[in-house]
């Protein structure tokens, strides 16, 4: 194939045209990433429940809307379902002593069956013409504004919550469980609480996503944890690059959502370059690996034996 012809065939307008849609999707994933941020960064708990609870959020929302329940109320119930999923993972870990990563996997796998039951099948569509939805890809601009409002409110609430006594106790639990116990913090309760909040947010994101795309699908949560991690890490790296030491907690949260948007723009770029869509998950993994490696490699460049030996070599020469 002629390389020039390939590039000539790419229409920049196509990419530009896809940006609003990508931003909307990225924002919705960004809300999920806030949930992942709570467990992964604050609690230091690799919670794999999210692949299941995201789809649960979508399934509950769609089924309830189809049953004639107003979409805001449907979303609220979906959040509760997510909280329940987090509660299960939390109790598996704290009350039954199952290692965190495995507790999440167990909940995730069981949610697959539960989601099939909720959906009564593998997927279910909800038509924006028949039902009033909060967001829909039929109206991208409005959707972006709507999700921005959601994200803004959630970030404000999280900023407030993790500044309270309880939120501080959760952060302390993630940072140093021994010290937390010595300071009278019930770390089991804090873990369960954080998992509930996290999965509530993930389900909220799932509910928004299902409405946006017009259907809930049993597979909609597949790989969600990796996308969430991607958003968290991209956000961290960018935030630190821009704000350096000045990055406070609200900026960190905001950048997690930005991370989601950037992730989706990159995906949009990949699609625009007409790379095979089968490779999407692979590319996601590559992106996450790169962003995870960047801080480590940068530190290593400053402070490693290899650099040391080079410098010593120059000195001796």
């Amino acid at each position: 194939m002629n390389v020039l012809a390939y590039f000539a065939s790419l229409d920049p307008m196509n990419f530009m045209g896809a940006i609003p849609g990508n931003v909307a999707q990225g924002l919705i994933w960004g809300i999920m990433a806030l949930g992942v941020f709570i467990t992964f960064r604050l609690l230091d708990f690799p919670d794999l429940t999210v692949d299941g609870s995201l789809a649960t959020g979508g399934a509950v929302t769609v089924v309830l809307i189809l049953a004639g329940i107003p979409s805001p109320l449907a979303i609220a119930v979906a959040v509760l379902a997510g909280v329940l999923a987090g509660l299960v993972t939390g109790l598996l870990h704290t009350a039954l002593g199952i290692p965190g990563i495995l507790a999440g996997i167990l909940t995730q796998i069981s949610l697959w069956s539960i989601n099939l039951i909720i959906l009564d099948g593998a997927n279910k569509a909800v038509n924006v013409d028949k039902y009033s939805l909060i967001v829909s890809l039929r109206n991208v601009t409005e959707s972006i504004i709507m999700v921005l409002i959601f994200a803004g409110i959630i970030i404000s609430i999280l900023y407030w919550y993790f500044g309270t006594e309880q939120g501080s106790a959760i952060r302390a639990t993630g940072c140093n469980p021994n010290m937390s116990k010595a300071q009278g913090i019930n770390i089991d309760n804090m873990k369960v609480l954080a998992l509930c909040i996290s999965n509530g947010l993930v389900a909220l994101s799932g509910g928004l996503m299902a409405q946006y795309q017009g259907f809930a699908d049993i597979k909609m949560g597949q790989g969600a944890i990796v996308i969430g991690l991607a958003a968290v890490i991209i956000g961290d790296v960018l935030g630190e690059a821009i704000f350096r030491k000045g990055m406070n907690f609200s900026i960190r949260l905001t950048f997690v959502v930005f991370g989601g948007i950037i992730y989706y723009l990159v995906i949009g770029l990949v699609m625009w370059l007409r790379m095979p869509t089968n490779m999407l998950k692979f590319l996601t993994a590559v992106i996450v690996a790169i962003f995870l490696a960047v801080p480590y490699l940068r530190e290593k460049r400053k402070n490693s034996f290899a650099t040391k030996s080079k410098r010593e070599g120059q000195k001796n020469a």
Binding site: Y161, G163, T164, E165, Q166, G167, S168, A169, R171, A172, C175, N176, N178, M179, S180, K181, A182, Q183, G184, I185, N186, I187
Partner: protein, 264 residues
């Protein structure tokens, strides 16, 4: 004030590694007592402190603090009564959180964590004054992450955290062992100062015999999960290192040469 009655603890029960770490400890501490705890490795010193702190449940016996039976209370509930400083300077503080945030966590020891703001303006002012006592200049960097502090600074901060809300009992588990001699001396001096100021009932484990002799009003020696020596008052004031070594060999029936290795 602190009452240990026939406290027993065996680790790895029924396995080849079975070890009776505490073999029936009876121990009573008066309010305001400052007792130093010495003994060789594996004598049960840290195990006794962990039993009191509730790190795990004991097998037999009972523990009460100021008449409250705490035997069945988990660690985080006993924290209401107990301030602790650990041997590892990393263990007593949350590295990713600020100095003032750590203190704010500590001042709420034993209280339920509500949805009120995690740190108030009055507390900040109080922390500023309290940090001055440490003499490390930490009062000027209250929002700095604790992870940026040195081991000595972290240990001094942990000490402040353990006592900022007056504990019924202060447990110091070899809290200067990981520090260089000069920093260790500073932290120890600070401990003395804080204990005296608040008249705290204190237990301090140390491997340094002269520290054990020169601090506190009472000294106990442990061996094989038992308290084998308990000296207080005038007798303790006159105590010398040689006395201690001799007493140890008398009670434990080991030659003095090995004692030196065990205890210093």
């Amino acid at each position: 004030m602190l009452d240990l009655y026939n406290v027993k603890k065996t680790f790895n029960l029924g396995t080849i590694n079975e070890k009776q770490a505490l073999s029936g400890i009876d121990f009573y501490l008066k309010e305001g007592d400052f007792v130093t705890v010495i003994g060789g490795n594996g004598a049960g010193k840290s195990t006794m402190l962990n039993a009191i702190a509730g790190v795990w449940p004991i097998d037999e016996g009972s523990i009460s603090i100021e008449g409250v039976n705490v035997t069945a209370l988990p660690e985080h509930k006993r924290a209401k009564y107990i301030g602790r400083v650990f041997q590892d300077p990393m263990m007593g503080t949350a590295a990713d959180m600020g100095i003032e945030e750590n203190l704010a966590l500590a001042i709420r020891r034993g209280k339920s964590r509500t949805l009120r703001w995690g740190i108030t303006k009055e507390e900040r002012e109080r922390f500023h004054e309290d940090l001055k006592i440490l003499g490390l200049g930490l009062e000027d960097r209250m929002t700095s992450k604790v992870g940026l502090l040195s081991g000595g600074q972290r240990q001094a901060l942990t000490l402040l955290m353990a006592t900022i809300q007056k504990p019924k009992l202060l447990l110091l588990d070899e809290h200067t062992a990981a520090l260089d001699p000069k920093t260790a001396a500073n932290v120890l001096e600070l401990s003395d100062k804080i204990v005296a100021e608040h008249n705290l009932t204190t237990m301090m484990i140390t491997h340094n015999m002269s520290d054990a002799i020169h601090h506190g009003n009472r000294i106990i020696m442990m061996n094989q999960g038992k308290i084998i020596l308990d000296i207080s008052g005038e007798e303790k004031k006159k105590l010398t290192k040689a006395d201690l070594l001799q007493k140890f060999s008398e009670v434990a029936g080991v030659s003095e040469e090995t004692d030196e290795i065990l205890l210093s």
